[in-house]
Symmetry: C2
């Protein structure tokens, strides 16, 4: 089993706030994400700035693209993103169009999706998926449960590299023990910690402890 | 039956191109949309500029929001958008969170959705939906058919104000005759016409001819 990556989601409203977090955390994490909120607020300038500051890091534009896959992917790639996200309800032609124009595409799993669809994504050459607890679901009291873990396991068995996100902190990692998670995505739990670097290192240490 | 609105979708890559189209077409149409491509490229500055130029028009931020509904809606409203879009695969808490922070929310119908879900959107106070042929589906040869028209009719019967979009030009309007469409959304067919103002006026004239 591989050691899962740690990804920081920069879901800031302001580019300057995102860059403040990135300057502190960028070298502590494996993957830097320009979050949807940031992309919608600041546009692809946010990705360009992250690429300028971190020329060697994997950078993701979390566009949750639903249509016009080709144009959105070209724009993300031109701005310097390695990967981008598409929403699971996008059509296969949209996903393929995106995939043809950027290195990798990740499918964001929201709402109702089926394993038949997931197989179509694999058949289209897309082998990354992101499993969420949505922020709004968490706010309304939902939490990680057995049904989530079983879905993640099944996706991994199908051949997906699965990123996991939503209300994660180092104390919730144990839940995923024994599952070949590709990446854990953390946002505010490290960005807004009193000591973000310490929080990121503890998160990584806990990943290593559980998955080594 | 009401006369359907005409909405121009500004799906430009550059703010300056979007503003060039808006300056020509803004007063010809009923609703101005900052398209997803434009929002992702230029951020909410695009909405702020459109609001500055058209203080009285209905302006939509086509964010296709999938999560963090409250933050995205606040950001759209602060930038000057009247309405925003959410993706149909967003959870009900996300949609409600968005609705609580902006005047109106429109559900973008992509992929598989059900009338049971649609009823949940209505129950959550969301009564606008956008029915698409996705750009990528159109590129791969799909077109408007009876199944699309039946779905639109059913949504209207349920109580939705339905906007229709995807490869529309004035010659395709006749297809929707007899259906209480709320808004037709046109993009390149008017924006990239040799004479955009003429194209918009012909589109509106054809709407009036069919729906009066």
């Amino acid at each position: 089993m591989m050691i899962p990556n740690l990804q920081v989601a920069l879901d800031n409203n302001l580019l300057s706030d995102a860059l403040r977090s990135a300057s502190v955390l960028g070298n502590e994490v494996d993957i830097i994400e320009a979050g949807t909120i940031l992309c919608l607020q600041e546009g692809m300038e946010a990705v360009r700035c992250l690429r300028a500051l971190f020329p060697e890091k994997t950078i993701i534009a979390d566009t949750k693209c639903a249509d016009a896959g080709s144009t959105v992917a070209k724009n993300c790639a031109e701005a310097g993103a390695d990967w981008m996200t598409v929403i699971c309800s996008a059509t296969i032609p949209t996903m393929k169009a995106a995939k043809d124009n950027i290195e990798e595409v990740q499918v964001e799993l929201y709402g109702d999706w089926t394993y038949e669809q997931a197989q179509q994504w694999l058949d289209a050459g897309i082998s990354q998926a992101i499993y969420h607890q949505s922020r709004d679901a968490l706010l309304s009291g939902e939490t990680w449960g057995e049904k989530d873990l079983n879905k993640i396991k099944k996706l991994v068995e199908m051949g997906f590299r699965v990123s996991v996100t939503g209300g994660l902190d180092k104390d919730t990692l144990e839940l995923f023990k024994g599952i070949d998670v590709y990446t854990f995505i953390a946002g505010r739990s490290i960005r807004e910690a009193a000591d973000p670097v310490k929080a990121a290192r503890e998160f990584k240490d806990e990943i290593k402890r559980i998955w080594k």
